[in-house]
């Protein structure tokens, strides 16, 4: 045995196709996921040069960013329609499997990869979408790429990458009751900032992470990009293996057991070192609410918006509060919302919907609040309906939608109107993200559900819950 290695180093060494001084490494890509928004120009590039997709069998496409979530038959925006039609044409021409709007495997690209078992430990996974980091929850090296790189992967199944530095975010202590993975990652970003991970790949470690479900790990890894890192991952363990067992694209039978051993061996070795280590105490985390226009501008539910003069970045804070229509030193619980969005690749899996439904069950959405639930995939939607979760939401006054990105980025009709204020389970609260002049507060599904009922933010830890899985 040589020097102990971390998982990032192990995967990297397995994937180098070519190495030459003064250049980045040429890495092999095991899985390439594509969607309608960032792929058309890449296909166009191939066509202009008469190139092919090298490995259509390692490439999977879905439609998520601008699919309609009310009525699948009605794509009102002609340009969105053109993008979807273009994807369909391109997939046919280049021989790529496509899960279109009507396919049962359709969904947000980062929800369906894991759900189908395409996402596996040790794989290099890329997609023209920054939240590709989500797949890192499985111990895969997964990162977002731009359209030129999409074209490059199409043509060569490889990518030029500088070996990243490694950052270990080590979580100590335990999460309190009613505090979720979303709160944890928001609290980490609030403390260390949106550039904490710039230039690094993060590995999250600690008992809290080990005890988390795969869904929670995905929520954490999803937001690595909001911490500035291109990728974030968790070493695979039995939880990972059990999640993948029996999934449609996972290996079967003996082959699965063999693979599972290889996967487990990828986990960081005892004593592995990193370029940087950050330790964070989970026990101090409360449910979080962002008050500003980047994900680090957040506060605990018992907290207040900052005092401008006392902050490190007074001008930034002032601009953010102004955009958000908030006062300085305002209690978070005094913020009233008029929109609620439960969805996005951060929090739209079955577990998220169950937890939100437990808060909602038997209650009513506050008058004047428009609340929507958008499952992360068509399969999540079907499973939730089997459990009667759709009814719980609908009876409470939520809208129950088809799967897609929806109000996370408002590329379809699902937008927050100007000046509207939304409790959102998504990952970005940038200006105009959910609609022009819309105000976004990032929260967990539980917090969003309680906000829908109360019309303002409340501490979900003291909130009544009704179990729905008995």
């Amino acid at each position: 045995m040589g020097k102990p290695k971390n998982i990032i180093e192990k995967i990297w060494e397995q994937k180098v196709v070519h190495r030459e001084a003064g250049k980045p490494d040429l890495l092999y890509i095991d899985l390439h996921l594509i969607h309608e928004v960032t792929s058309p120009q890449a296909f166009e590039g191939l066509r202009i040069k008469g190139r092919k997709v090298r490995r259509p069998d390692l490439t999977f496409a879905t439609m998520d960013h601008n699919v309609p979530t009310i009525d699948r038959e009605k794509v009102n925006d002609p340009i969105a329609k053109e993008q979807m039609d273009t994807l369909k044409k391109n997939c046919e021409e280049f021989g790529i499997t496509l899960f279109d709007m009507f396919h049962p495997n359709q969904g947000i690209v980062h929800v369906i990869g894991p759900q189908l078992g395409l996402t596996q430990p040790g794989k290099t996974i890329v997609c023209g979408d920054s939240h590709t980091s989500t797949h890192g929850a499985f111990g895969a090296l997964a990162f977002g790429i731009g359209t030129s790189e999409v074209e490059h992967v199409f043509a060569t199944q490889t990518i030029w990458q500088h070996k990243p530095k490694t950052l270990n975010v080590h979580i100590e202590g335990e999460l309190g009751a009613g505090v979720t993975a979303k709160d944890l990652i928001l609290a980490i970003i609030a403390e260390f900032g949106t550039d904490m991970g710039t230039g690094y790949v993060i590995e999250y470690t600690g008992d809290v992470i080990r005890n988390m479900t795969m869904e929670d790990r995905m929520t954490i890894c999803n937001m690595s990009i909001e911490a500035g890192a291109r990728a974030g991952l968790v070493s695979p363990d039995e939880t990972t293996v059990e999640f993948l067992r029996g999934r449609p694209y996972a290996p079967k039978g003996e082959e699965f057991e063999k693979k599972a051993k290889e996967w487990l061996a990828l986990a960081s070795d005892e004593g592995a070192t990193y370029d940087k280590v950050i330790t964070f105490d989970a026990s101090k985390v409360e449910p979080q609410v962002t008050w500003g226009t980047n994900p680090s501008q957040g506060a605990p539910i018992s907290g207040r918006t900052p005092i401008i003069a006392e902050s490190d970045d007074p001008e930034g804070v002032r601009l953010a509060l102004e955009y958000m229509g908030l006062e300085e030193n305002q209690p978070i619980t005094s913020i009233e919302i008029d929109h609620v969005f439960i969805g996005s690749c951060t929090n739209s899996r079955l577990q998220d919907l169950i937890r939100a439904a437990e808060i909602v069950k038997g209650k009513k959405v506050k008058e004047g609040v428009r609340a929507i639930v958008v499952p992360g995939s068509t399969l999540v939607k079907m499973e939730a309906e089997k459990l009667g979760i759709d009814k719980i939401f609908k009876e409470a006054g939520f809208e129950w939608r088809h799967a897609g990105c929806s109000m996370c980025l408002g590329m379809n009709e699902d937008i927050v109107p100007p000046g509207g204020r939304c409790a959102s389970t998504s990952n970005r609260n940038f200006e105009g993200r959910q609609g022009k002049d819309a105000r976004t507060h990032l929260v967990s599904p539980e917090m969003a559900a309680a906000a829908a009922i109360e019309g303002r933010f409340v501490d979900v830890r003291n909130y009544e819950k009704t179990p729905i899985l008995t």
Binding site: P24, D30, D77, W160, R433
Partner: protein, 195 residues
């Protein structure tokens, strides 16, 4: 892409930190299936009023900066999504180089792949040039050969850019062509190591 060795141009100061890709090109403009024509949507929400008229108070609309080809901005420029529309829009508008104390990762990479030169220099110098650009007329020269950016008063600062990208940009090379020269290696990898 267009080769870039050295460029001198007028600087427009965008005195903001954390300028994210949603600001650079709002998502309603991402639906095109083409690579060109994004320049008119650059900074749309800041640049235009509700009725589509130019917002006079936004710096890019100040006639003084009409011919600017270099943008200087606060730290963490380009954070957010992986949309390559951001560098496409900046290039299409006419920018050749962006200067900031720090760029977001994916944006950095996307920009270099498209030949948009990103100059990462120390914050104090950014602040100085920002001020000069705001108060007067600042011209800077970005030189990829020497990896320096300099003004006409003799201030010259070096910056780093990965050697690989530097060569590609200076020569205007197509990266896919370069990689395809390694086709044998890729095939060998697939035959021996792929699982």
């Amino acid at each position: 892409m267009e080769a870039f060795v050295k460029h001198t141009g007028l600087v427009v100061p965008l005195n903001r930190t954390n300028v994210d890709t949603d600001q650079i090109v709002p998502k309603q403009f991402l639906k095109s299936v083409k690579r060109t024509g994004f320049g008119k949507h650059l900074f749309h929400n800041w640049r235009y009023n509700e009725d589509g008229s130019p917002n006079e108070s936004f710096i890019l609309n100040d006639p003084k900066y009409k011919d600017a080809t270099i943008l200087i901005a606060g730290e963490n420029f380009g954070s957010g999504s992986s949309r390559e529309h951001a560098p496409w829009a900046l290039l299409d508008y006419g920018f050749k180089a962006i200067i900031s104390p720090k760029f977001a990762d994916i944006f950095y990479n996307n920009s270099l792949k498209n030949g948009l030169v990103l100059v990462e220099i120390d914050e104090a110098q950014v602040d100085k040039w920002m001020k000069e650009a705001e108060e007067g007329e600042l011209r800077l020269t970005v030189d990829l050969e020497t990896m320096t950016v300099s003004d006409d008063k003799g201030v010259s600062v070096s910056f780093e850019i990965p050697e690989y990208n530097r060569q590609n940009i200076m020569n205007g090379w197509d990266e896919i062509d370069l990689t395809l020269q390694l086709e044998d290696k890729i095939r060998e990898y697939e035959q021996t190591r792929l699982y």
